[in-house]
């Protein structure tokens, strides 16, 4: 996956340089430097990387890229260095300079040139200076960001040239920031530095803060005052953003709780079945995702980004089907004895866990994030990760969809009729057993699609469901049994409260406080947040 990404990047780089005609002898002059990489420890390699970068030869960039990705290996027999690509059981060898295929090698014939974090840092910095003038604005931006991190004073000159030439505003801004970082790290004059402080202050994020704090510790006079002022400013704005961030985290946690609880809100809330096997339905949904991804990985890797979309209907059908089987096989004998459903579903939950453990093994299974769900973007000073954002969207969509089904479809009407007054509904000609099975299936199916979403942020293991079952019950009860809006508000409230408590009380104490809060809240409103009114209450 990520090999593909780096390969694409490589391709970009290559096309970026294809314009510049590189003379053959230039390349060959690099050869000794490249082959030297086969020798020495990390420290020496670091020096060699610097030497390579110092040549300024654009052909070095893809080479360093490969080194950073761990794709650079040397042949044991003659210590010649190649870029390698997996091919069958061995590797395809590619000449690091000309990029021509140079034969094949088995795994034992080549040795990887090891990289560690320090080396990766130097490669990143070297790549930054080398690709600052690339064609693709994204590459230039990455390059500038790399220089920002490296804050290498020697890059100031090339940055200046690049800034002058830059046409893209976004990229220019990043370059200016990189320049500011480099200037602070150099021994430039007062004016230059003050200007740099200004640039960083207007960045206003943690990276800038980090630079300024480091700088302020050793600065003096006017510069220190300016830096201190900038630091206070950034801290102030970050504190404000901190609140926004807590709300976001809270909503995000709330959406996870909502997803976990919403299926239960149907099986337990609407139907009154104390469904202890709910968590296992979520788990089954996650395992369906895993199986879909496994199949895609082995037979159709290009579909990977759609794996979740494929898994959703499957998870709904499979979990829903198992749910209906449970309803038909066990629960239908227990209507009117709701507490006994607790015992039976507990037994079922144990069996489902063990079944999954026997089939898939007890260890975690790998469920990957599709590319549109990995990474993060910045909104002001808020870092928003894509997977969290999509989960929030997804939770709200599921909720809305469920509301629609229950309020606007005949099936929803029947469900409500059966749960409100079973006998009267039956008298009106509704096939109550069928509706029961479908409703339970719906609840379980929704738990299944929740599992698809949760597989993106949590372990996929037989214990997955256990981790959510208690929280789910808390949410449903807190919101008010039998009321879907209650579940929504309950989940969001608990999520946000939890996230506002966590920074002060810590994760453990925060959770305890939330539980105590629920206990006290139930004293105040014994039927939850949105209590059902009417005669059903005292039934």
């Amino acid at each position: 996956m990520s090999f593909l990404k780096s390969f694409l990047l490589l391709l970009c780089l290559l096309t970026g340089f294809s314009g510049a005609v590189i003379a053959q002898e230039d390349l060959e002059s690099l050869r000794p430097l490249v082959n030297a990489l086969a020798e020495g420890k990390f420290k020496e390699t670091e020096q060699q990387v610097a030497d390579l970068a110092a040549t300024g030869n654009p052909a070095v960039a893809p080479l360093l890229e490969a080194l950073g990705n761990g794709d650079l290996q040397f042949r044991k027999s003659d210590k010649a260095v190649f870029i390698t690509r997996s091919a069958g059981k061995g590797y395809q060898l590619i000449d690091p300079l000309t990029h021509e295929v140079a034969g094949e090698a088995s795994r034992s014939e080549v040795t990887k040139i090891k990289v560690n974090n320090g080396l990766r840092r130097s490669i990143r910095a070297a790549l930054g200076s080398l690709t600052l003038m690339a064609k693709d604005p994204d590459v230039r931006k990455t390059a500038a960001a790399a220089i920002f991190k490296a804050k290498d004073p020697e890059a100031i000159e090339s940055l200046d040239t690049a800034i002058a030439k830059e046409s893209d505003d976004d990229v220019r801004l990043v370059m200016e920031q990189a320049r500011a970082a480099a200037v602070l790290n150099s021994d430039g004059g007062d004016a230059d530095r003050l200007e740099a402080i200004d640039v960083l202050a207007s960045m206003g994020n943690r990276d800038a803060l980090s630079l300024l704090t480091g700088f302020a510790a050793s600065a003096e006079g006017e510069q220190k005052a300016a830096a201190d002022k900038a630091i206070t400013r950034i801290n102030k704005s970050l504190a404000l953003w901190g609140n926004a961030q807590n709300i976001w985290y809270g909503v995000s946690l709330g959406s996870v709780l909502l997803l976990a609880a919403i299926g239960l809100a149907i099986t337990f809330g609407v139907m009154g079945v104390i469904n202890m096997a709910h968590g296992e339905m979520v788990m089954i949904g996650a395992y369906v995702t895993f199986m879909v991804q496994e199949m895609i990985r082995s037979s159709a890797p290009w579909l990977f980004d759609y794996s979740l979309l494929i898994a959703l209907p499957l998870a709904f059908v499979i979990s829903g089907g198992i749910g209906m089987a449970i309803e038909r096989g066990v629960i239908r004998w227990l209507y009117g004895r709701p507490l006994e459903t607790l015992l039976a579903t507990w037994g079922i939950s144990l069996m489902l866990q063990q079944a999954v453990r026997s089939i898939f093994g007890p260890t975690n299974q790998e469920v990957g994030n599709p590319s549109w769900m990995s990474g993060a973007f910045e909104l002001g000073q808020l870092t928003i990760t894509y997977n969290r954002m999509w989960i929030i969207v997804f939770a709200l969509l599921v909720f809305a969809g469920l509301m629609l089904v229950l309020k606007k479809t005949p099936f929803g009407l029947f469900t409500r009729a059966v749960t409100q007054n079973r006998r009267m509904a039956a008298s009106m000609g509704i096939r109550t057993p069928w509706i029961d099975a479908l409703t339970f299936g719906l609840g379980s199916g929704i738990a299944g699609i929740a599992g698809v979403a949760l597989s993106q942020i949590d372990n996929v293991s037989p214990n997955l469901g256990q981790g959510y079952i208690i929280d789910s019950f808390m949410v449903v009860v807190f919101g008010g049994v039998g009321n879907l809006w209650g579940t929504l508000v309950g989940a969001m409230t608990l999520g946000v409260v939890n996230k506002f408590l966590e920074p002060y009380a810590g994760a453990v104490l925060g959770k305890i406080l939330v539980l105590v809060f629920i206990i006290l809240f139930i004293q105040k409103r014994p039927r939850g947040l949105f209590a059902l009114k009417g005669r059903a209450v005292e039934a």
Partner: protein, 434 residues
Amino acid sequence: MSKKLMTRTAGLALASLMASTMIGGAMAEEDTIKVGILHSLSGTMAISETTLKDAMLMLIEEQNKKGGLLGKKLEAVVVDPASDWPLFAEKARELIEVNKVSAVFGCWTSVSRKSVLPVFEELNSVLFYPVQYEGEESQRNVFYTGAAPNQQAIPAVDYLMSEEGGAVKRWVLAGTDYVYPRTTNKILEAYLKAKGVADEDIMINYTPFGHSDWQTIVSDIKAFGSAGKKTAVVSTINGDANVPFYKELGNAGIKAEDIPVVAFSVGEEELAGLDTAPLVGHLAAWNYFQSADTEVNAEFIDTWHAYTKDDKRVTNDPMEASYIGFNMWLKAVEKAGTTDSDAVIDALVGVSVPNLTGGYSAMMPNHHITKPVLIGEIQEDGQFETVWETSGLVAGDAWSDYLEGSKDLISDWRAPLSCGNFNTATGKCGGSGS
């Protein structure tokens, strides 16, 4: 009327009583040597421990192919303590008293080990404990083949402080709230302060078991790391919580080049549940990695794949510790010529067997073993690449020198000392008290 009811009830009760005594009365047959395997196969710890059960079964099978031990076949007795700590004690008792096993290989969590300790002491049997742990213990009947803190935590911190590791100046110690992280962090805190790290440069954070929402903590780490000094995270986060932690870390864009995370509880097995591409370069400190380039390791991995009939099953450090422990036991039994506990316990000290990283591990008088310490970086394929290792073997230290309560304690189970907590300051066996 009540008479018949009485006979029925009585019959049932009697039956259950009889059954339980029958279990109690069942005698071991003498033609095999029994080995107990005490790893959870269900419940929260099954995720880690089931692998060790399989590894033990494999080792026993292999040994039987080689002709067994003392001319007898080995027989594994597997029980499931179900991640239920009191049940560990009960099952340990069952293995020793009822099944008459000669040695037990088992436990993972500290609490399970603490739970069975009194049982092994009382019934005088032998336990091999294959997991890295917090130290501060040395018991006559227990042999610790996992790492003590000085075989994992301290070298890892040393590495990060070095030029090569990135010259880290600021530290986040993040862990799950239980005894192993607590103790390790206590030791590390004392160690870091001794090395001149200031109070405000250390952040300690604890989370509950199975914590799954890491947003706040990851953003705290990010904030802590933006103080202009090189920052690293030392993670003692326990098994289950790691996957969501690393997923959050990867998505939040915390790169190993900027803020490396070194973990003591994350091995190949844990990474198997993760897409490791965003995590390349984050570190782990262990005494073994599957990637170790030695012949005996290659052979071990092949046997493992053949045994599990799964080419993708990974090996990990606790498996190596089980392997070492098992071989040490074999050697000691052969040396002693009997499986009798006292003889084996005496014979074990000084036994030296090959480990999987190309050297030899020896059992020390304090019942800990010598090991190399490796620092590995996570790779895209879910394996670790060793980037640093100690020049020689490190002997496990039962009592940390960096804790107030234990700095004067040593352990030596050889005669004449025969003491697990000898106080060098007072010259007495029995801890630091008066």
